[in-house]
């Protein structure tokens, strides 16, 4: 099961999150995950691509202890976890500022401290000026930014992203990808990102894992050779296109 052991971060600085032979079978008999092994190291940004319904999200739910695997070991070497859901999951009655403050509030932090932390991350994601807006007054992209800011207040060491930008249009998605990359370079968390977009996966990651559906298992892995911090122009290079092609190919073979 998930162990929260912050001391081992220093001794085994390498691995922040690891899955060992993890299986997940739901009560109705569906095998969501089958013999999954994963090692997420500090400074890594791993993206898992796969068809919808292949158990990608279950991976994150297990990593964050929302769900207990039916078999296998999960080790998490930090308790500072960021989790961005498919929806922004902002509380509609709270302003941007109060939404971003929420997690610190749940941890019982003092008012002025959490206000300062919220302002910092709001500025960081580019939502300055919208602190007092309600979620309904924000666009989909801005809501996602607020959601990112909310997770950032925890100063996460492991950041889990569950297809966060799937519902956004192409341009907004690309901007938010750049935003995530910038945060990754600045904050040095370990990222585990779920998506069904291959180009998004290749652009964001240091490593891309291809997952097959039913039962969900890892079938291929690609190292992404492009430098971090990543140059947005890399998307228009032939090497990038070639890697996207290879990953797409593996994905196609997977089901």
């Amino acid at each position: 099961m998930t162990t929260t052991d912050t001391t081992s971060v220093h001794t085994r600085a390498a691995s922040l999150l690891s899955f060992e032979d993890v299986e997940m079978t739901f009560p109705d008999g569906t095998v969501a995950l089958h013999s999954v092994n994963l090692d997420l190291k500090r400074g890594e940004f791993v993206t898992v691509v796969g068809p919808s319904g292949c158990g990608k999200s279950t991976l994150l739910r297990i990593a964050s202890d929302l769900e207990t695997p039916s078999h296998g070991e999960v080790a998490l070497a930090t308790d500072r976890i960021g989790y961005v859901f498919q929806d922004a999951t902002l509380l509609p009655w709270r302003t941007t500022r109060r939404n971003v403050e929420l997690l610190a509030e749940l941890h019982g932090e003092a008012k002025d401290r959490r206000a300062a932390a919220a302002q910092e991350t709001i500025d960081l994601v580019g939502l300055s000026g919208f602190e007092d807006h309600l979620p309904r007054q924000l666009s989909g992209g801005m809501r996602m930014r607020a959601s990112l800011a909310r997770s950032l207040t925890l100063d996460p060491e492991v950041f889990l992203f569950d297809e966060p930008f799937g519902a956004l249009d192409e341009i907004t998605r690309e901007r938010l990808n750049d935003e995530v990359l910038r945060l990754f370079s600045e904050k040095k968390f370990a990222g585990l990102f779920i998506t069904h977009s291959v180009s998004e996966a290749v652009y964001l990651s240091t490593r891309v894992i291809v997952m097959s559906g039913r039962p969900g298992t890892f079938v291929a892995e690609f190292e992404v050779p492009f430098d971090m911090p990543r140059d947005p122009e890399v998307r228009f290079t032939p090497e990038f296109a070639e890697l996207v092609g290879e990953v797409s190919h593996a994905l196609r073979e997977a089901h």
């Binding site: 999951t89 309904r136 007054q137 801005m142 341009i171």
Partner: protein
Amino acid sequence: MATDPTTTAPATTAEPATASAGPTATTPAASAPTKPSRKKGQSRWLTWGPPLGIAALIIAAAYIANAALGDRSFLLPAPHAVLAKLWDPTTAPDMWTAAWRTTVVSLTGLAIAIAIGVTWAIIMNQTKWMERALFPYAVMLQAIPILAITPLIGFWFGYDFTARVVVCVIIALFPMVSNTLFGLQSVERGMRELFQLQGASRGTVLRKLELPAALPAIFAGMRISAGLSVVGAIVGEFFFQRGTPGLGSLINKYSARLLSEELFASVLVASLLGVAIFLFFGWLGKRAVGKWYDFG
């Protein structure tokens, strides 16, 4: 109101900023003054015109029926004669005192129904088995024919204020229970998990997530229960005649004495009271949650 963020948003597609701009929203100085005001006049006419037209038709029909009934016109008195009773110094003081009494009874009953209903729903929301154990009784409460148990209520609570309030509570309780429960359970899974990930306690989830999320449903329930509480007060007064008479007592008295103009006038006051309370709670709901929820 807040400005529309889509006009200044850096990285976003246009999405309507559906802030609650009511009919009283001020026109920005920059926009042309004539066009919006004509539009507003038109929409006001469209809002109030049709129902007022129907009211005029009903009043006209009442006059026609009144004339056609001839010497049996007491069955449907002329509208102006009914209205006159509301100012007539021999009947009006009774009626307004009674209306005030009925208001007190129904608001007391409503307050108790809200307190019990919300608490009941919160308890049911704790575990599935509590819901299974308690919900059937909420349904049963609603299914009880109130007239069948009024004698019993008189037995137990006497025949004045307390018994009237009890009738009120029984009638008004169910919408509060069911709406609150629905509201508490309407919270999206993602939001629950957001709290779960931070290790939030059951109480914190209730205070910071479920109750605020349930507010629109709670206010909608209050509005329904408010109307019902007036019904309950009048039914209670109809049967429990001790103490200060309420509208129900007057209706009972006037109908027994065949005072048809007074009877119609007191029915009218009772209806207006119901409408007023309904509108008040609609307004209250809009004030409380209208900023983030389209409270209709």
